[in-house]
């Protein structure tokens, strides 16, 4: 069968991958490909002239866990991350990954692929941002770490230099008293008015020690206000009605381009989260 002239490369090692990425700077780095295939029109994948497949690069499928971090290879399928179990993956991330798709999708989709979609913020990104996760970006002869919250520029492009590849994701492991993740709709279908919410809080003796709240409508700008979070630190639980309504007022004005339903869902989730903070 005649193909459309797409050259596909299958590097076996990270070294080969970085070399190929340098030689073919315009090539599509193909990890799970579920987003690309999901967005196609017609019965063929929309592939550029060169594709570099990560399917054989075992170095990108490793997992390691220390007391402080969980490190996940960028090309490890979501299914394999879920197989680590709830006790090894932060609860909010585990919940978010379960929402990425049914098992037939989770066996293909990867964490790196979920992060590196230009112009669209997919399910794992807000959660990883809230957990202060970072990605390792490598190219031949150089590597750097970048916060997941900075991978997507406000204009939708990715903060990746030419030939740079996401190789692993480092997630700090911290104890939280409550970790909540909720999602409505799907970022893959903007018409479903998607909204993801994640809330983390650490409390002790009825006092908030740390609190983080984020929302995402699938757009590059996250719905997060660090000033409100700092204001809430040190407050007593249950929070006073005035504290909650002050916070909610701020969250009501965050972000642009949200539909009334998205905004309403986000604000209600924030309210619900603040009302349900555990005492310790």
């Amino acid at each position: 069968m005649a193909d459309r002239g797409t050259a596909v490369y299958f590097p076996d090692t990270l070294g080969e991958l970085l070399l190929l990425a340098r030689r073919e700077p315009d090539a599509l780095i193909y990890s799970g490909g579920t987003f690309i295939l999901n967005q196609r029109v017609g019965r063929f994948a929309d592939l550029p002239p060169a594709v570099i497949s990560l399917q054989d690069v075992e170095e990108l499928k490793r997992v390691s866990r220390s007391e402080r971090y969980l490190e996940i290879g960028a090309a490890l399928p979501i299914r394999d991350i879920l197989a680590l179990g709830r006790s090894n993956v932060p609860e909010c991330l585990y919940s978010a990954l379960r929402m990425i798709g049914p098992s037939a999708v989770a066996s293909l989709a990867t964490l790196g692929g979920n992060i590196a979609v230009p112009g669209r913020v997919l399910t794992s990104v807000p959660v990883l941002s809230l957990l202060d996760a970072r990605v390792e970006l490598r190219r031949q002869g150089a590597s750097r770490w970048l916060a997941v919250s900075r991978v997507h520029r406000p204009n939708g492009n990715l903060e990746l230099a030419e030939s740079e590849v996401i190789t692993r994701v480092r997630i700090p492991l911290q104890p939280w008293s409550i970790e909540v993740f909720r999602r409505f709709g799907s970022e893959l279908a903007p018409e479903s008015e998607p909204l993801s919410f994640c809330g983390l809080a650490r409390t002790s003796n009825r006092i908030i020690e740390e609190i983080r709240i984020i929302g995402s409508a699938g757009l590059p700008a996250p719905l997060r206000d660090r000033d409100v979070e700092s204001e809430l630190v040190g407050r007593r639980i249950p929070l006073a009605e005035r504290d909650i309504s002050t916070a909610v007022e701020v969250y009501q004005t965050l972000g642009t381009g949200l539909t009334p339903i998205q905004r309403d869902r986000f604000v209600r989730l924030v309210q619900w989260f603040l009302l349900n903070l555990p005492a310790s």
Binding site: M1, A2, D3, R4, T6, V8, F10, G33, T34, L37, N38, R43, F44, A45, D46, L47, V51, S53, Q55, D56, P77, R79, R98, G101, P102, S103, A104, V105, S107, L108, L188
Partner: protein, 160 residues
């Protein structure tokens, strides 16, 4: 491009367009019509295959990814005792799937029982929610899977 992979336990070499969907390659060019194109967005489960041992949506796999892979379709599963166990379980629970979703349900249950001999409620829910067809109820299907797990366990104990 020319690719070699293992399909239903047999090696196969074929010339493909890298952008072709695996479900189309299987159905239109290799004549394996068990996997059916449904939503074509990876959500309905009717095009499911086992891709390197894991349940995967055939509509989300471009042909080039089959390079070096091991693929099992419903046709390849059909003649195995594993299939018979699932079939017996579904019949006993009065939960035989329709022909449209059969590939998705049999293969997803097979994948589940390969990894969980005694499936948990959560894994069962995850598995069954991956096939959208509602030709039978969730409760019956869940019962069918438990019967199938039981049949498989007893067969393995008997050493067959």
């Amino acid at each position: 491009m020319n690719i070699i992979f293992t399909l239903n336990h047999e090696p196969i070499e074929i010339d493909v367009d890298p952008a072709e969907l695996l479900v189309d390659l299987l159905r239109l060019r290799l004549g394996l019509r068990g996997a059916r194109p449904g939503c074509l967005r990876g959500q309905c489960g009717s095009c499911s295959v086992l891709f390197n041992g894991a349940l995967a949506a055939g509509c989300l796999i471009p042909a080039f990814r089959a390079y070096g892979a091991t693929i099992l379709t419903i046709e390849g599963l059909m003649d195995t005792p594993d299939y018979q166990d699932i079939e017996k379980g579904f019949i006993r629970a009065n939960a035989r799937p329709c022909r449209f979703c059969a590939a998705g349900k049999y293969l997803s249950v097979h994948a589940l029982l390969e990894s969980h001999a005694d499936p948990t409620d959560e894994s069962l829910q995850d598995t069954l929610s991956g096939v959208w067809c509602r030709c039978t109820t969730h409760q019956r299907l869940a019962r069918g899977v438990r019967y199938a797990a039981d049949f498989r366990r007893r067969r393995v104990q008997r050493g067959r």
